[in-house]
């Protein structure tokens, strides 16, 4: 405990908070500029989105301050309690919930609508961290692994029932935490590889994809040449994986798309990515539907038209004039892409990556397992949101309603990520303390 500093202010990781504030600032700028605006509107007009968002920032900072003033052991001790409360809150939405845009996951309080699913991410994280940090817990036992999965996926199931698939999928990011804590790497590799294969089959043309798959197989074999020499089974696995991947992308998908699926089904799959259906899957004589998923198409146009340096602040023709639906919530990134171009967008991506790496850095320096698991959970959830949201706005992933953390308009989303980070910073301030 030689480096232990008395002053809490000195123990706080200011870099994380700075990155947090930068991202929120970019978010409010994007919301402000992308809002439909006629001239001569007051900046401080409280019916407008950016002022609402500023209000939420105020609330978030206040809550953050409270968190920083709280003892770090408090979060450990209340974790199961808040988890149970969270589940109850989720169930309450079935009773109290007002339907917002076809999902039943909102509770209306006054003028603000509130989405318990966002907050429950925090309580689930706390409970998962608490469970894995249980003293003398052997996480190599499948029994414990399965319990942790139940903790993680119970809210997920409820949220799916509420018809909010996107939000539910976020809970799958806990797999990353479990992987860090000892879940066999095969699951992660298999999962990521399957997703990558599926998406690339749709987005990449057949022959280049064949070359890429083969290259990966050769690369993996080369990197593990020692293991290959000793273990023939590994070679067989790589071979089978290669064969399955090739069969899937070159034979099965084309065959199924051509002969099994109806044309509209194929179209549905492609339009989720904002892609036109390739001509080989079109029946002769039929015309492709002109409006592949409107949102993604418009989002891609908005981002793509930004060019290298963008159209300039407040000059985004597409975002300003409502061509992109949901342009200050899920598609908030379009405003950045259009107005600040490749340079601005890349900087934003780099900020996110920096934040994620910083959180891993924090995680790895924790003395207590609770703090480490918690930090990894935050990193995983942020990563999932960041990766999926940006991918879907750029047509790399299907459109599922997932917000861009800190940037998207939406009070609950901002508040929940703020709570996430402030608890993390608070725990990190006590990194030398064994929290249990």
């Amino acid at each position: 405990m030689t480096h232990y500093k008395k002053n809490l202010l000195l123990r706080i990781d200011w870099l994380t908070l700075l990155l947090y504030l930068i991202l929120v600032g970019i978010g409010i700028t994007a919301v402000y500029s992308s809002e439909y605006s006629s001239l001569n509107q007051e900046f401080w007009d409280f019916s407008r989105s950016h002022t609402k968002q500023l209000t939420w920032l105020g609330i978030s900072l206040f809550v953050g301050l409270l968190i920083l003033l709280t003892d770090s052991k408090f979060f450990y001790s209340v974790s199961y309690l808040v988890y149970v409360l969270g589940i109850i809150l989720l169930l309450l939405t079935f009773v109290l919930g007002g339907s917002v845009k076809g999902s039943n996951s909102f509770i209306q309080i006054g003028g603000f609508s509130f989405q318990p699913g966002e907050i429950v991410k925090v309580s689930t994280t706390l409970a998962l961290a608490r469970f894995i940090a249980t003293p003398e817990l052997d996480y190599s036992l499948w029994k414990n692994r399965i319990i942790s999965m139940i903790i993680a996926f119970l809210p997920c199931i409820i949220i799916i029932l509420q018809n909010e698939t996107g939000l539910a999928l976020v809970y799958f990011s806990f797999i990353l935490v479990m992987f860090r804590e000892g879940l066999p790497s095969g699951i992660l590799i298999f999962g990521i590889a399957s997703i990558a294969l599926m998406i690339s089959t749709l987005l990449v043309e057949a022959i280049p994809l064949l070359i890429i798959i083969t290259a990966i197989a050769i690369l993996v074999s080369f990197l593990n040449r020692k293991a290959l020499r000793n273990n023939k089974i590994f070679f067989v696995i790589v071979g089978i994986a290669w064969f399955v991947a090739v069969m899937f992308s070159q034979v099965i998908v084309p065959f199924v798309f051509k002969n099994v699926f109806h044309e509209y089904q194929v179209e549905r799959i492609y339009t989720m990515f904002g892609q036109d259906v390739p001509s080989e899957y079109l029946k002769p004589g039929s015309t492709p539907s002109q409006d592949a998923e409107y949102n993604v198409r418009q989002a891609k146009i908005a981002i793509g038209s930004g060019g290298l340096s963008g159209k300039g602040f407040m000059n985004g023709t597409h975002t300003k004039y409502s061509f992109v639906p949901e342009q200050h919530t899920d598609f908030v990134f379009c405003g950045i892409g259009e107005q600040f171009g490749f340079i601005g967008s890349s900087i934003l991506v780099l900020f996110f990556v920096m934040l994620l790496l910083r959180i891993i850095h924090l995680a790895e320096r924790q003395r207590s397992t609770f703090s480490r698991v918690y930090a990894y959970s935050v990193a995983s959830i942020l990563f999932f949101h960041f990766a999926i949201n940006l991918s879907m706005t750029m047509g790399l992933a299907p459109v599922i309603g997932i917000t861009l953390p800190m940037l998207s308009y939406g009070g609950t989303s901002l508040l929940s990520f703020s709570i996430f980070l402030f608890i993390l910073v608070r725990l990190d301030a006590d990194r030398e303390v064994l929290i249990r």
């Binding site: 439909y36 003398e136 817990l137 052997d138 996480y139 190599s140 990353l176 992987f179 860090r180 804590e181 000892g182 790497s185 992660l188 990521i192 891609k300 146009i301 908005a302 981002i303 793509g304 038209s305 930004g306 060019g307 290298l308 000059n315 023709t317 597409h318 300003k320 004039y321 409502s322 061509f323 892409g337 171009g341 490749f342 967008s345 890349s346 991506v349 780099l350 996110f352 990556v353 994620l356 790496l357 891993i360 995680a363 790895e364 397992t369 480490r372 990894y376 990193a379 990563f383 960041f386 990766a387 940006l390 991918s391 750029m394 790399l396």
Partner: protein, 673 residues
Amino acid sequence: MDNKMYKKRAWVLRILFILMGAILIIRLFNMQVLDDKYKTMAHNQAVIRKVIYPKRGIILDRNGKSVLANRISVDLAVTPVKVEDFDTSKLCSILGITTEEFEERIEKAKIQNGPLRSSVFQKFLTNKQNARLQEDIYDFPGFELVERSLREYPLGIGSLFLGYINQINRGMLETERYSSYRSGDFVGITGLESVYEEELRGTRGVEYWVRDVMNRPQDSYMKGALDTQAIAGENLHLYLDADLQAYGEELFEGKIGSAVAIDPKSGGILAMVSAPTFDPNLLSGGDLGKNFSSLYQDPTRPLFNRAIQAQYAPGSTFKPITALVGLDVGVVSPSFGMGCAGGYYGCGKRIGCTNTRAGHAANLKIAIATSCNSYFCHIFRLIVDSKQWQGGKQEGIQKWHDYLRSFGLGNTLGVDITGEYKGHVPDRAYFDKAYNNHWNSCNMVVMGMGQGEIDATPMQMANLMAIIANKGHFYIPHFVESIGGNKNHPSLEKYLEKHKVLDIQEESFDAVIEGMEMVVANGTGRVAQIPGVRVAGKTGTVENYDVINGKREKLDNHSVFVCFAPVEDPQIAVAVVVQNAGYGSTWAAPIASLMIEKYLKSEVSRTALEERIKSGNTIKKYVYTLDSIQRAKDLKREELRNADRETKIRLRKQQDTMMVKYILNEYYDMKID
């Protein structure tokens, strides 16, 4: 459980995060920097290019009265494919139509211009309709208000020389002059509208607008950096005296013919009447096509600009020119006289002279005043047969031709409206060919008195008067004095140039002018006298023929009068032709004289004369006959062609039947009737 074992998995996650960031940045680079298609798509989607049509220049007379102006009208246009379901009853009630009519018009629009293109749904909205639609137009997707500028002729005069505008036709689009035009653009078709198209149209502007997802224009694109301003067209100021023009058109009611008045000092056209005329507003706006075809079919041919297109033998009005040429060549002097007893016998066959009084050709002055035919036939022969020509009569006739050409005859003058005709002045080659090289001055002797192989337009006749008034020079007659206030505009340069007619001595002109003044003072044109104004003029009564019912028939003479005034300081030169109206002094001279009085004094004192002219109708029935003969011929030819086709078919059927009967009869022994 110790976490050391899985410490390296932290690196797996770090790499995963970095990898994801890299993928996203590569994707961004691809979309934003490498791929241009999104920029094009964004531009096509959000930016509207709006062509701003400039205000077309207006046309003003010499006193600043506008004779051609603009009027804004608003049309409701529809693009059928964009029409969505909406409350049609509201639109119908604004326009005052039924829903069935609405459907009908949509169908019509689809047929007319195709469903993808915008067609006019209702023309010329009233102010009230316009105001209501301005408010609610976004409730009617597919509909838009289109402003357009219509040409308006506030005084209703000058239809033929002012011209009209219409949508450019395909033939014009292929010419170089109109290469920058697009189908659907309006362009001057005739008259000043066409000649000064480049000056009147102005410069088109382009505005780029950003629109929102509802298709509403929101803001200028890039703060207007790419926009270009529309520059309004230049106004034309004319020499025209609108009052004189209107008065001339009034005098010509019920007559066929034309009058041209020129300011000799500048060549500016003060009035150009071609009768019968029509209200130029008929050729502006919606019914242009319909009105044009009814004007086109009118037997009196109102679309024919007689002032520059009708070619008449000038008749006796030509005699001053013969005199001038004779004097300049030197074959006669002003005091030259001859005896005439009512006919010229120099060429064997008698050429009649209306005057039989002794001494009516005692000298040049008197001969002009009495319009002695013999005198001018004689001068003509003296000119052609003069001993001074080395090449004999051939050179003589060529010299005669050259003189006339330098007087502005036999070729277009270059007036600044479209459609000018040349008239006709025969040269030596013409006669060599016509008479197979065997001719002498007797063959065309009537040219000396303005008959025979010589034709001139009223414009050329008026210009002859300007030349005499100026004693030897002229400016090309033209309408436009200044363009946008600039008298030295490049398009007007050629009208500032002074044209000298050879080197005819001033004394020769003085002698001729004296004679012409005598015509009015106590000669054939006394009716043209204006109290207090010295008028020099010359009457003409022109024989003309046409073929009616297969026979060449002599029609009523054209009544012609040319003059200028005041003699001491000429301000107006006039030529008037009234077709088939009789003596020059009966109709043409009064019209010319009244117009001069109107111009110089702005009030007409001779109301009795004015009344007689206004109420007179000189249009002969055979005008309709001549026209209907032509039309009947056309009809017959058309009918014959159709009948031929039917006959052919009938014949072919007959042949087939015969063949069948023949076969049945020959091979099957069957008899069929």
